[in-house]
Symmetry: C2
């Protein structure tokens, strides 16, 4: 009884595959685990934003690692984020908002901390990028509600139409808080998605990256009881001790991650398996999946 | 800066509407708040399953209220759940599994507790119900990945094809853990969705209700570090002190809720607003929404 519900990944390992009995069809996780090393792409340390929170109540360290998006996406905001990290601007700020089934948001709760010099103001047009035809990998994904097409581009979930491509708000994606239009946010106020993909935010707000490790340190925080899930008592805020680009850390302290090439055969089989679960637990494959149910596999690399 | 990101609901209340300036277009929350009392339907106490957890570390009570689905859905499992609650079977069991962006699961971690007499074994065919044409309310929702049609039926998110209709796995929906097919689960082992809608579970596992209050007591629990998010140390499990149908509680202790009639004009306007955000924060309406981004409004009724 213990392994009820989506037990296939664990249980199938224990199912004997005898001559009489064909091996079970692999789960998405098993396909990923079996992918050759050549299908994995290292994430540059320069693209990892490392956020350390104050230790939890039991004294346990809490590190959240965010992968910043590659060009052509959100370059202006990501440039600002690099400047903010270099200025150690987030050190001493806090997690200020936790809204259930929506977002966790962090930044300067006092709203008084001066921003570093040289941040740029990014126009709303930068929420989208020019589409280069053929550059995207189609996925067995519809979500026609939100865009004509969905897929992945160089490892990132995107939507596109005839002219433009834009990143989408899946679980764990990191975006830039802003005020009312035409404000687009500087990048100093960030959030990550901790619930069902709020796709209505696509093209309305900048996405700059995704949490690749430690999202449980954000998603399991107590929900804020104020409007929009803001913490009402400042003692509820979670202190941010340090935010650095990984290259600014001691080499021994630099996290290392790689993602499964979304151009690889392994990813194609993984995506098909996500859309058509045939591993032992399932009795009826869905026949498709929405883009946010085909998360790009990312794994930690042991030093 | 404090109200960055989806600030409209809160901020628009503070935006002066002068003669020169038209009132802002209402947000989905404002439409719901303005709905007449006649658009709200009381949820029968007999359909509310009340789960009390042990108080949290600060001694704060933790109550989770689940609305059971109406006929024709999942009748066999729901009948079993009523028997289990009447037998006080869950008292002394625990929350045993918390898997990030997936589910929280509870039941008898010892796997040894005898089930009450009279539980029925439900066939897999009961994952679907016969479709009564015209009974569903269409929503501006696609998710073509998962079904030809999506909408709501008597207040519940469903998908349907020419022959059948079935409930869908949105955030907060409650389902029945099971083992490998042909097992369909008794209803003693339950889970709720705490992440992006795992729609691949639709038609593969029984849905029996939804959390209408207190999901934060489940979604903010520490994630389990074992396989599938199970807690590895039994001390991590969260004790369940009591699970009752609300009618079994003292009247003074019975929670009362109502939901917005999904046949009402208010709901139609709410659903349209969810699919086409035009309130002040938004610059580009999505033009649609997936079924799980149009949650049916449920509110507590003060005694």
């Amino acid at each position: 009884m213990k392994h009820l519900l989506l037990a296939a990944a664990a249980a199938s390992l224990t199912l004997p595959a005898t001559a009489q009995e064909p091996a079970p069809i692999p789960s998405p996780g098993e396909i990923t685990a079996a992918a050759p090393a050549s299908d994995w792409i290292a994430i540059a340390a320069a693209d990892l934003l490392v956020m350390d929170l104050a230790p939890d109540a039991k004294g346990k360290a809490r590190r959240v690692v965010i992968q910043l998006m590659p060009a052509p996406f959100s370059l202006g905001w990501i440039g600002n984020i690099r400047k903010l990290a270099a200025a150690q601007w987030w050190d001493g700020t806090s997690i200020n908002r936790v809204q259930d089934n929506y977002v966790v948001q962090w930044g300067d709760a006092t709203e008084k901390k001066a921003l570093p010099e040289g941040l740029v103001t990014v126009p709303e047009s930068a929420y989208l990028s020019e589409r280069k035809r053929g550059a995207t990998t189609w996925l067995p994904s519809a979500n026609g509600s939100y865009a004509p097409h969905h897929g992945v581009l160089a490892g990132w979930p995107v939507a596109w139409n005839a002219d433009a491509v834009w990143p989408v708000h899946c679980y764990g994606m990191v975006g830039v808080g802003r005020n009312f239009s035409p404000d687009t946010g500087s990048g100093a106020e960030l959030y990550t998605v901790i619930g069902h993909a709020p796709r209505h935010l696509d093209q309305n707000i900048a996405l700059v990256g995704r949490v690749v490790s430690g999202i449980e340190h954000l998603s399991s925080l107590p929900r804020g009881t104020g409007a929009l899930g803001f913490y009402e008592d400042e003692k509820e805020r979670v202190p941010i001790t340090s935010v650095r680009i990984a290259t600014e850390l001691d080499v021994s302290d630099q996290p290392r991650f790689e993602y499964l090439s979304t151009e690889s055969d392994s990813f194609a089989r993984y995506a098909d398996a996500r859309a058509n679960r045939r591993d032992p637990f399932f009795i009826k494959p869905a026949g498709g999946a929405d883009i946010c149910n085909i998360p790009v596999p990312v794994r930690s690399v042991e030093k």
